[in-house]
């Protein structure tokens, strides 16, 4: 029941937050130098720790004559000079009187709890970071998982319907349509889906359809809001081919992709193919390199891991699926925040075979969020989408318990990773500032081991990306990669908390601010023919023509 899920997830998150806050509140005020000295404690230099005298031996020890005392010879006492015990001195300072002793005991208890919490959180963070690293490296984990297959397939018999959703980036919309139209596949139709109110997109689509009448069709979505999921479903309903392909406006699609997808469908027997996607930016910001690498590792490696586990969260670009299968699954869910993930989970539960492919020469380039705000919104949506699917519980219908457990972890991972990534440097800083005993601080630094290894792996990945996919990497990209690590993680952490709050409040509205794309300001006069003037004037007539004949009235 979703209500039950609400309560349990809210409780879990509250407990987690309280634990974190408790750790911080308890550990921080202990102040400098007040932690109990652990086994590695440095004795004060002036009195090297000598230890205490040891209990006497059981065996009779000849007692040599001692000048100071008369001792009967057959007793075995050891007479040692009294020694100062450095530990005793310390504790005496702490407890002057009875009340002081009680305070000291309470303080010790509080410190112990704080230390225990720190250790627990540190171990959790280490586990999360290690899982993330392992999944990131899945594609290269062993020679077997390199999974290089020959996807040669000569006959091009599948008919493709490619859906491109407009409304965000008009210029990119036009570019994408042109590229898709340039495919040399014999049987391709391209559906340009625009909202009724999105006039710029309509103009561009109409122009493109005018230029390629045999390939491009304009499909208008009557819903006022022009929501992306509705657009996709509209495209799914209107398409006529065997295989549906989905792209975003602004995607750079490489020629040869359809051939590759068809080969994949034929060779692997899958019904759905998720081809590789890479986020690219024309004017990279400081976070662009990191975001691009994140998408590289996601599509190149992590999705492959999920494909092996038969639980694939899909993307909404460069996705291909058999139309009958998609229609049978009722397309994309209208209220899903991360619609691709949601569809992927449903398909996985239904046992639909999904193939994940990556060819460095055929990677689809999709738009990078242009600003920090846009990035934050994108991440918030992504994490919220996963959390929503987690709460919905469709994954509970998976056949085995192991798969259910894996699904739960997979869906929670974006949130956990984002929070963990932000918490790791914070925890280390807190442990140092709070002057905890050295073993506790060492444990607090333990999550840095997988975190720093991840950083090194990202650098290797950037190099590999530059070599195989032709992405230009300059020195400043390396610098941004290194220096941007902590700010990026903090950004993700904030986005994760925002996503959690939104999901708990049930706020699923798309953040329209993020849909406004600064790059869409460009007005390319070439793409705006005289038809524009006509279409704004006679909308109903125009619509009717499009949906009926699939061609633009000239």
């Amino acid at each position: 029941m979703s209500g039950h899920n609400d309560v349990t997830s809210a409780t879990r998150c509250t407990v987690l937050a309280v634990g974190l806050a408790g750790a911080l509140l308890v550990v921080v005020p202990t102040g400098p130098g007040s932690g109990p000295s652990g086994p590695g404690g440095q004795p004060p230099p002036s009195t090297p720790a000598e230890g205490t005298s040891l209990p006497p031996d059981d065996e009779p020890v000849l007692q040599p004559a001692d000048d100071s005392q008369v001792v009967l010879l057959d007793e075995e006492e050891q007479v040692e000079p009294t020694e100062e015990d450095p530990g005793a001195v310390e504790s005496e300072d702490d407890a002057d009187d009875g009340a002081g002793a009680l305070d000291a005991a309470r303080l010790d208890l509080v410190r112990a709890i704080g230390a225990g919490l720190l250790v627990l959180i540190s171990l959790m963070l280490t586990a999360i970071s290690t899982i993330r690293l392992r999944r990131m490296l899945h594609a290269w984990w062993s020679p077997a998982s390199l999974g290089e297959t020959d996807l040669e397939h000569e006959r091009l018999t599948t008919s493709f319907s490619l859906v491109v959703v407009g409304g965000r980036n008009d210029e990119g919309f036009g570019r994408t349509l042109e590229r898709l139209a340039a495919f040399d596949h014999p049987d391709v139709e391209i559906l340009a889906v625009v909202g009724q109110e999105e006039l710029g997109a309509r103009e561009v689509a109409t122009a493109a359809a005018y230029r390629h009448p045999d390939r491009i069709r304009l499909v208008v979505d009557r819903d006022v809001r022009g929501h992306e999921t509705r657009a996709l479903n509209t495209g799914l309903a209107a398409c006529r081919g065997d295989v549906l392909g989905v792209f975003q406006a602004g995607d750079e699609v490489r020629p040869g992709l359809l051939r590759h997808v068809e080969a994949a469908l034929a060779t692997t027997g899958a019904d759905v193919v998720q081809s590789g996607v890479l986020l690219t930016a024309e004017n990279p910001s400081w976070f662009s390199v990191r975001r691009m690498l994140e998408s590289y590792f996601w599509f190149r490696s992590r999705l492959r891991y999920y494909a092996q586990q038969r639980f694939v969260p899909l993307a909404t670009t460069s996705l291909f699926g058999r139309v009958n299968v998609l229609r049978g699954a009722d397309g994309w869910a209208g209220d899903a925040v991360a619609e691709g993930c949601e569809l992927g989970v449903r398909l996985s539960v239904a046992g639909v075979p999904v193939a994940v492919t990556w060819d460095p020469q055929l990677v689809t380039g999709t738009a990078m969020p242009p600003s920090i705000r846009a990035l934050s919104d994108e991440q918030t949506r992504w994490i919220q989408g996963f959390l929503q699917v987690l709460r919905r519980g469709a994954w509970r219908s998976l056949p085995t318990r192991r798969q259910c457990a894996l699904a739960r972890v997979t869906l929670a991972m974006p949130f956990l990773e984002a929070v963990a990534g932000a918490a790791v440097p914070v925890l280390a800083a807190v442990a140092v500032v709070a002057d905890a005993p050295p073993p506790i601080v060492l444990v607090a630094f333990l999550p840095l081991i997988p975190a720093l290894t991840t950083l090194v792996v990202e650098m290797v990945g950037l190099g590999e990306l530059g070599r195989t996919s032709g992405v230009r990497t300059r020195t400043r990209d390396w610098v941004r990669l290194l220096l941007g690590a902590v700010p990026y993680q903090l950004l993700l952490g904030a986005a994760a908390l925002r996503a959690l709050v939104r999901e708990l409040r049930g706020d699923r509205s798309p953040d329209t601010a993020s849909h406004m794309n600064d790059d869409a300001a460009g007005t390319d006069a070439v793409d705006r023919p005289r038809l524009v003037a006509r279409s704004t004037g006679r909308r109903e007539q125009f619509d009717h023509l499009v949906t009926k004949t699939g061609a633009v009235d000239r």
């Binding site: 720790a49 000849l62 040599p64 050295p438 081991i449």
Partner: protein, 655 residues
């Protein structure tokens, strides 16, 4: 280069039951051979392990630190100045804590060597796995195990409590993981981490780093190579990072006045410590070290060198191991950094290289001659190879047999045990001793206060880093000298100065591995100081007094006792007591005695065996003696059956 993964993926292989059933007999045969050889060599290592060889150089300080960590919670005393990384002592201390080794074992050295036996066992198993993973045949892997476990050089240097012995299992583990047939990134990551732990156990393990890097490079798939090196290197570096972080948290990372620092310690070890001297200089420490290795197993070492050179040039599969052998070997012959325990790092690689090259030679000769189709030639070539092997074995046999006789037969620690007992019995409270680290542990376990004892290594203290030196050797009364201290005198210059200005009080054992307890003369070595001056015994006066006593009618002396009296070998206190006792009753003296360790040091007899007239008289005598005040108060009075009394006086030199 397209890659695709399809879901649903076929199930990842057969279940565990069918996998168990499909274990081939080959695997079992391998396991049996390995188990037999490992057990045999472990038994060989264990026999007499606490007694031979006598404790070498660093053993005392290593086991001392492990003891102080377990019982006192820190590495001090003596103060830790990062001369070695701490993880080796931590592991040793964890073992001794878990098995209560210090309480169980007869001495500290025995406790520590138990841990070394366990480390050897693990290393032997890993060596077998490594040899098999490198593609060696079963007989070759067995040969490697034999050389690694049974060579006297190996036994001699794998028994002692060296940090290098604790690092060897980690190094071998790193190589085993790097050679894994599945070539998974997780294996390479673990390999890097294992080498990291090995280097934080013993700095010398860093010499293996190039070899392991090459091994990872060779073992990994070309497409995953960069990632393999990245994760392996990251984990290696991050293990070091934790060590450095630990030091930084204690404020001991950067050099500064008043505190030890990791950087200072490492710098000192690398650049400022006294070099070992050229191995060709007969007086140098380096020469002694290398010649001691060659004396134990010259054939083995030379074979290993030859095999490493051949493998470096001609056998790509074994090239990483060849580098792992040659880098420490080169460092060992450098005039700067040679240490005794470097040979420990050479042993596993040398063993596998000998076996690998032998196998290659055998199969190569088979190929070359097999082509010729001449059965007689093949047979004669095989025969000559076998003959060559037998010759090598015959050359090595005398060294090996002599080595075994020394390692298995002799009890070289007996002298130290006696010395411990003597010190506990005879050194009065308040006297301070300079001892080796293991003896420090034994004496503390026997009940001595740590304030009275100091280890040789404590004199390495440096006031610049805030470690208070212990006042110099002049503040101490006794120094115990063992074989390894005399053998490498420049190691502890302060202790050497103390030795030079001291006289012997007691000697245990004989020859090179004797143990001497010496009294320190703070005013410096006095040319005219005789041995008897140390004990304060004047033979001439004693002879006079003894002759007087011999004429005393009330004292009935056995002939040997009479002679000893007259020659002035009896302690003055005994004679005074006898005179006093004889005034009231007839006294029969059977024998004078002293601890045999004091023979030859100029010390007088300080124990006397009397026979009283009746048991009551014996008790009366005992009461009289017990009521005496020092210096005439005996240390021990033992009343035996039929009125026999043994009276022992404390050592005069320490009164």
């Amino acid at each position: 280069m397209t890659s695709a993964t399809v879901s649903p993926f076929p199930r990842a292989g057969p279940g565990w039951r069918s996998r168990l059933e499909s274990v081939p007999l080959e695997g079992l045969r391998s396991a049996v051979i390995a188990v037999v050889i490992v057990c045999a060599s472990t038994v060989l290592h264990a026999l007499n392990m606490a007694s031979a060889p006598q404790r070498l150089g660093e053993e005392g300080s290593t086991v001392g630190r492990a003891w102080t960590l377990e019982h006192l919670g820190s590495f001090a005393p003596p103060a830790y100045w990062y001369e070695h990384p701490p993880l080796g002592w931590l592991q040793l201390s964890a073992w001794t804590w878990a098995t209560s080794a210090f309480e169980r074992a007869p001495s500290a050295v025995a406790a520590g060597r138990e841990a070394m036996l366990v480390a050897y066992l693990i290393s032997a198993v890993l060596l077998w796995v490594l040899a098999r993973r490198l593609g060696l045949a079963r007989w070759a892997a067995a040969l490697a195990l034999v050389v690694f476990g049974l060579s006297p050089l190996a036994v001699q240097f794998q028994r002692p409590i060296f940090l290098a012995n604790l690092a060897t299992p980690w190094i071998l583990g790193a190589f085993v993981l790097a050679c894994s047939p599945r070539r998974r990134l997780g294996g390479f990551a673990a390999s890097g981490a294992c080498l990291g732990v090995a280097t934080v156990t013993n700095y010398a393990a860093l010499l293996v780093l190039p070899a392991l890097a090459l091994q990872v490079w060779r073992s990994s798939h070309p497409a995953t190579r960069r990632y393999a090196l990245a994760v392996g290197g990251s984990l290696f570096t991050l293990v070091w990072g934790m060590y450095i972080l630990g030091a930084a948290l204690r404020g001991e990372l950067l050099p500064g006045r008043g505190h030890p620092s990791l950087i200072h310690g490492a710098w000192f070890q690398l650049f400022e410590s006294a070099g070992s001297g050229s191995i060709f200089d007969a007086d140098s420490f380096g020469h002694d070290t290398v010649s001691s290795w060659l004396a134990l197993d010259m054939v083995g070492l030379i074979l290993a060198l030859v095999a490493a050179s051949v493998a470096l040039v001609a056998l790509p599969r074994l090239r990483p191991l060849a580098i792992g052998f040659l880098v420490p070997a080169v460092v060992a012959v450098l005039p700067r950094y040679s240490t005794v325990s470097l040979v420990v790092g050479l042993l596993p690689f040398g063993a596998v290289l000998i076996a690998g090259v032998s196998e290659r030679v055998w199969s190569w000769s088979g190929e070359v001659l097999g082509r010729g189709q001449d059965r007689r030639r093949v047979r004669s070539a095989a025969a000559s190879l076998v003959a060559l092997a037998l010759v090598i074995a015959a050359l090595a046999a005398p060294d090996w047999i002599a080595g075994y006789r020394s390692l298995l037969g002799h009890d070289r620690e007996a002298a130290l045990r006696h010395a411990d007992r003597w010190i506990v019995q005879n050194v009065p409270t308040g006297r301070r001793l300079i001892v080796d680290g293991a003896m420090w542990v034994d004496l503390v376990e026997a009940g001595m206060s740590t304030r009275r004892l100091v280890q040789y290594a404590a004199f390495d203290a440096d006031a610049d880093v805030g470690i208070q030196p212990r006042g110099g050797w002049r503040d101490y009364d006794l120094v115990v000298s063992i074989e390894s201290l005399r053998g490498f005198p420049d190691r502890y210059p302060e202790v050497r100065a103390a030795l030079r200005s001291s006289v012997v009080l007691a000697v245990f054992g004989a020859g090179d591995d004797r143990v001497e307890v010496r009294k320190v003369l703070p005013e410096g070595p006095d040319r005219t100081a005789t041995e008897s001056a140390a004990s304060g015994h004047d033979p001439a006066a004693a002879a006079r007094a003894g002759t007087e006593l011999a004429r005393n009618a009330s004292v009935d002396l056995a002939p040997a006792a009479r002679r000893e009296l007259v020659e002035g070998e009896v302690d003055q206190r005994i004679m005074t007591t006898l005179v006093a006792l004889a005034a009231d009753r007839p006294v029969a003296v059977e024998d004078f005695a002293y601890d045999p360790a004091e023979a030859g040091t100029g010390a007088p007899y300080r124990a006397v065996a009397l026979r009283a007239q009746s048991p009551d008289d014996a008790l009366a005598i005992r009461r009289i003696l017990a009521d005496q005040v020092p210096p005439h108060r005996p240390a021990e009075i033992e009343v035996g059956p039929d009125a026999r009394i043994t009276v022992t006086y404390p050592l005069a030199a320490l009164q």
